[in-house]
Symmetry: D2
Subunit: 342 residues, 4 copies
């Protein structure tokens, strides 16, 4: 018996990846996929490897036929659809930023717009490997973390939970992302000719919106707000994130154990053996996060986290969360990985 | 004493390259540069290596202050500016398609729009190495060839002029271009993520607009229309064209001599020695065309032509034409090459 | 019950892809993998996503434990291993060039070395979609075609079989391949810095070794030798081939029907609908060939064939052949595709 | 009157760039170029845009005909040639690591080999914009800094000189380099297929050899050794370095002034206006360093430094040093830039 789902916003990079995973998921049937700009077309017209799915506008979406809605929509457009789905008893996995921030005032501060549906907040914000999974079964709604946030938190939280950061030190995350993180809407700065041979920092320091969700979770784990220094850079490749975390810590041995304790046995988060370093080659086109630990001095640890921004940073993590929500095996449809639509 | 010029359409890839060349041209002063969408800004805001040129709208352009207008505008928007310039005694180098086709009916057939200024036609269409240069001195207006057309004609015309093509054989040009040929206006298909790792043919056979100008020149050289088979492909790189020409010919020795006769001594068109093959590495970021000849059978010759689509295929060829028009040394400002803005 | 296999030459790009496919193949167990240079290491040390397979030298290979040997070895090193395997009753899928050419004299002409095991010849040369599959069941040995040859023959043979080529016309294949086709042995010309931003023809005309196998099959289908013009080019991407075939034919309608007749219903060869053109994006990291047909004039047809050179051009086609040889479903282990090691 | 020079090690990426610059330098004549592996060939056989320079082995080098030797040799092979040149009164610009470290014991510690010519040490280590230029005129020998070191020191030294780093804080340099930094000797990890779509850290923490020269200069400027945390990453592009420096400082205003004071008026080091961030697009194929400053909190400043690793990180800086050594204008042959051979 399949769980019936609808995918809202199927034509972006995240939506395409999600469709690719769900098509091969043995417990799922995709009942519809939406696109405002391409309603009436087949998804295959937009992407040569996508399935031949007829696209409808979100206004036409038959909520009564689905058990779960995946929302791959821009922020501010996602929360209203979530509200509509939840009203009708449809569960929601929201891949947008709309439901990630508990406090609508913080949302407004970072997104420069009033939260469209503050009544929905708070919603569980779930990186499964850093969450209490048992609480998620039967959750009506999950906020799927951002790509940079997933990478950063996988590197920071194991240390934060154990209280290992030295007080009053900055927590520096130098992050590098492939271009698909910027989406499929055409802009000059994501044109091939602008990116090829180029590389640069942007919104560095404390300017990028993902700081809001990363720091929310850091605070939840006991750290003070304001300590995160987050520097994104744009890589001349299509997909993948490397986050290089510079952590000043009180106890190196405990730090290494913290990662081991957090991630040992996890099928989708791999700690590399000492001496190996995480690379995009470990993770692109996979649902994995790969982490390496480099102790440098007694108190400085470098944590390198690699993920595919569209998968562990978005769509495959959404399917992990979906599986947890419906009581399925967390890696169902994800191992071995058979996406490959985007 | 400098020749005063204005550049219309300075913010596209062609315009930027042209500005870069003209800035270093010892006989030129750029009096203004235009952009409709970015008027009021400095060109440097749009491109980090561009000079700090204040952009005006074309409506504000002071034609009375310039000797020559370079038009890097979209087709249909270029010819009216050319007309206005010529009226005021300003010479014109038009890099658009507007003045390339002698017959406005042919223009309309390929560009699906009536020619905006048929009274300007015909205008000399000039690849200097294939033209009677002495006629150009004091020409009021020159049509600068398209990028694909430049590459194709450099490979075809030496054979055509000598009457070496076997009758009733197709003349096949399999061409491959970097992405900058598609311009700087954001479109989905030129996004980094769509091009990276990809490659494909488009508008192959007899569908691409450059067929009109290539065949016009082939006919002028004595060939029948309709014989050209032209297959463009999009390369995952920023710049450069390789045109691979398959020519069925009557006399191989005469064919090799035809190229030698046509291009020996040319500073900007290099024939490679036997056994070497043209590559993008020979030409990108240079004003050169590099050509290699591969006799295969007694009657089949492969001609490989490499150019930088933005330079020999557009802006540096425009400066060659400008130099000829004003009686300057043809390579002034081009050798050694000092562009590098785009 | 699994079929036990050994993979000879597991560390090259083709070997890695093959290992990735076989690991997920439900009817296969990989008993060993060989490497001369890396014997004693785990395959994972060489490639971060490869399984943790211990590598042995081919001299240590226990032929008595396997049912089938896959040979991903350089030419001249492959045939002797094939001979040894066949002697011991082990079936062979040879991905090298050694068993592709029926006539050892032709092999010597192209490979400039005497054939190491002429007694093995001829061996069935199998692109399944162009072969009599029923004859392959229980074949002891199959020669797996080259990557360029697979692409070229998929575009040429349907026309050749129907006798549709106009007499005395050249059959031109302008082919473009990603860099993995050149293998993993470090050479200057395959360094990142030499390829990035570059593109060029090489060994064009009648110089590339794959001409020998392509023409062998063209002749088998009734064409005269010597008509093929084959021009490979090196693309700045990691994988994928586009072969653009220029065919002068006697009957366009029959030509289109020939492709339909040949490939309709094939799960791994897709004919695109009219108006769509094959691209690398259709095929990379899939076992598919995608073909588009562009009639240009009454007698000139352009056939565009796209494959992944490491998959349909090597390892997934090897698994198709393996499946046929062992009477399994031809697409077992290939659909949905779960490789992704290389 | 020209200064006669010889280039040792002309065929690597650094050597090629240097040849390209020197060919266009109005005060220089290249008398010879060496290569051990390619002696007897023309440089053009190795690189399609290089001049037609006949290569000799270094043993044949006529030191008596030159005024200056540029050494683009591997470490341990460079110092003996430097010694030979200096003996004969020939000045030396050494681009290798051999003469960068004052203390041969430190050299041995990092390079795992005894210094071949400790009697030559110390030698001035010169980033001109951070050095006392007047002392260099008539210097017999200059050690040209490493590429990463140039980028890191441009970001660190202005703060160090003014004593602005907070005590006991790590000085973190997260650096990203294009592949040409790894040289032209073929290795698996620099093959196109290994780098395309990939990105990763390597030798992070305190493991990379350039730490030795960076810390030597940091100590010279008053900082304690051991504070540098240096994390190189390999970018999927051919050239360029971005070094992102995380500096914890005592006085933000003084810090911004320190950069202004250090670099105002420098023709080859540009400080970007507030709000703009350094990118590879600012610097690739130019002799420039471009620096941006991002104050984050009262005590945390991010300094982003962009250079072309082959130019400001090697060959154009070598020519700056050469010009200073011979009393020429420092930017002679560099502005406008006309390299472009590599």
């Amino acid at each position: 018996m399949s769980i019936n789902v609808g995918v809202f916003g199927a034509t972006g990079y995240t939506g395409l990846e999600l469709i690719g995973i769900l098509e091969n998921h043995p417990g799922v049937e995709i009942l519809f996929a939406t696109s405002e700009s391409s309603a009436g077309k087949s998804l295959r017209e937009l992407s040569p490897r996508a399935p031949d799915l007829f696209l409808i506008s979100s206004a036409e979406a038959p909520f009564d036929q689905i058990d779960c809605a995946f929302l791959c929509l821009p922020h501010t457009r996602s929360a209203p659809i979530a509200a509509k789905a939840l009203e009708q008893g449809v569960k929601v996995i929201d891949l947008s930023a709309d439901l990630r921030i508990d406090d609508p005032a913080v949302y407004e501060q970072w997104y420069k717009v009033a939260h469209p549906n503050p009544e929905l907040l708070p919603v569980p914000y779930v990186i499964p490997e850093l969450s209490e999974r048992e609480n998620l079964k039967n959750a009506p709604c999950i906020a799927n973390p951002g790509c940079y946030a997933t990478a950063a938190l996988l590197g920071i939280l194991p240390l934060a939970i154990e209280g290992l950061f030295l007080p009053d030190t900055p927590i520096i995350v130098d992050a590098k992302s492939g271009v698909s993180g910027a989406g499929k809407t055409p802009k000059v700065h994501t044109l091939f000719c602008e990116v090829h041979g180029n590389f640069y920092p942007y919104a560095i320091g404390r300017a990028h919106r993902h700081i809001s969700e990363i720091e929310q979770e850091m605070v939840r784990a006991g750290l003070e707000a304001g300590r995160l220094i987050f520097s994104p850079h744009l890589l001349p490749t299509d997909r993948g994130i490397i986050a290089t975390v510079y952590a000043q810590i009180s106890d190196m041995e405990a730090a290494l154990e913290a990662f081991d304790g957090q991630f040992a046995g996890e099928p989708l988060v791999h700690l590399l053996p000492e001496g190996e370093l995480a690379s995009l080659a470990h993770v692109t086109r996979t649902p994995l996060a790969v982490i390496s630990l480099t102790p440098v001095t007694g108190s400085l640890l470098i944590v390198s986290v690699a993920i595919d921004n569209l998968l562990k940073g978005a769509s495959s993590q959404a399917v992990q969360n979906f599986n947890l929500m419906f009581g399925l095996d967390e890696t169902l449809g994800l191992l071995p990985f058979q996406g490959g639509v985007a």
